[in-house]
Structure formats: C-alpha cells, structure tokens
C-alpha cells in the first residue's frame, strides 16, 4: 500500500538490473535513476538478475578499456538509504558466481521469491 510522507506519496519502486556493465550504458543509467528516486524519498528496491548480477561483481578495473569504474557507487547507495538489494540465486549459479563475489551486502533469493516481491511493487523499471 502507498504511504504518505511530509512531501507526498511514497511508492514501492523496483529497479530491475539485467545488463552487464561497460558493454552497454544501461547499468550506469539505472544507477542515475535510482539516485534520483532516492532524492524523492521513495521506497526503493534494486533487483539484480540475468547479466545484471555482473554489475556488482567485485574488482571492476576498467582503466584498460578507458572507462570509468562506477561500481563504487553501489557501495554508496547505503548512504542514500537504499539498502534493499536483491540478487537472483539462479542467475548467480548460471554464471559460476557466489554471494562472496559481490561487492555489496545483498539478499540472495530464488527466482520464484523474486517474482513474488516484484508483484508487490507499485512501479517496476527494468533495464
């Protein structure tokens, strides 16, 4: 259900990250959107599935390809009260990754549980 705060309605937002970083601009653009919604005091959730799990892989070093490392921004999300990060278990497994490979604390959940959580949102934005 929607709640009110002093500045208006608070909606449950979910940003669904499905793209690998660096190859396309999607991952970076979603981060920009997330930071904007945080500024409006919304209830922000971030989900990482499919190739999106690579966005929060530890150790990005894009210097050699001449790009900016934007992965530290994920660690800064906590400072914007964005702490609801969910990672799909099946997506990690297909890619040979574990929770230890990720640079931020997340909740790993099954595809079925993530689907349920997604269905409870007011706004879902996938990229």
């Amino acid at each position: 259900m929607e709640e009110e705060n002093e500045s208006g309605v608070v909606k449950k937002f979910m940003y669904v990250n499905r793209k690998a970083p660096y190859g396309t601009i999607y991952a970076l653009e979603v981060l920009e959107m997330v930071l904007i919604s945080a500024a409006f005091d919304q209830d922000v959730h971030m989900a990482f599935l499919d190739d999106g799990v690579y966005e929060i892989k530890k150790g990005h070093t894009p210097k050699g390809v001449g790009m900016k490392n934007f992965s530290p921004t994920y660690r800064a999300l906590e400072g914007y009260d964005i702490e609801k990060l969910y990672v799909e278990k099946e997506s990690l497994e297909e890619r040979g990754l574990t929770e230890d490979d990720l640079l931020v604390p997340v909740e790993v959940m099954s595809r079925a549980d993530l689907a349920k959580l997604m269905s409870e949102m007011d706004v879902v934005l996938t990229a």
């Binding site: 793209k19 690579y54 150790g59 990005h60 050699g64 040979g96």
Partner: protein, 102 residues
C-alpha cells in the same frame, strides 16, 4: 586464408556466440571481446560448450575487457588464450577476413 571472428555480446543474453560457433571452419580464430568475455570463464552454464570449441578452434579473450569486469584471468577456461590489444591486432593481421558478429 582464415577468418578472425569477433564476438562482443554476452552468451547469456544473445545468440551471437552460438551463431558464430555454428559458422566457424577449420583454421579460423575467435576472439571474445566486451560482454562476450563472460563466455571464456570456467564454472558457468556455457563452459562445457566453450571448452569443447576450444579443442577445435583457436579461441582468444581480450584481457583488458576481463579486467574491466572484475574477472580473474586465472579463471579462463583451459585452451582459451588471454591476449592484450597488441595480440588482437596480430590476430586481425594474420587473418584474411575479420567477421564481427554484432
């Protein structure tokens, strides 16, 4: 008289790599660049297919693209060679044709 095939899409998202593997002939080389570097790693759902392909064709992966994505070059599948930009140029120069599977 060989072709260098370049693949730049993730094998988990697009079929570019599958198509490429279906059209490679003896003597050709494949280089995995950008988001295709994820195909070069062990422990994934595409590892077996890539390990098999590496027995038939020369397969390389671009090191700087692995490093950008935080991927350990030590986790690259046996039989796949990590190359730098200079190595990429050498592969292109040795080949008669470059086919980019965009």
């Amino acid at each position: 008289m060989s072709t260098l095939h370049t693949v730049n899409k993730s094998p988990f998202e697009r079929s570019n790599l599958d198509s490429c593997l279906g059209h490679v002939v003896a003597g050709d080389s494949i280089i995995l660049i950008e988001d295709a570097v994820y195909a070069a790693l062990s422990g994934t759902s595409v590892t077996a297919r890539m390990a098999d392909a590496a027995k038939q064709f020369r397969i390389c992966v671009l090191g700087p693209d692995l490093q950008a994505r935080g991927m350990d070059t030590g986790a690259v599948i046996d039989g796949i060679t990590v190359v730098d930009y200079g190595g990429f140029v050498d592969l292109a120069a040795e080949s008669r044709v470059v086919n980019a599977w965009l």
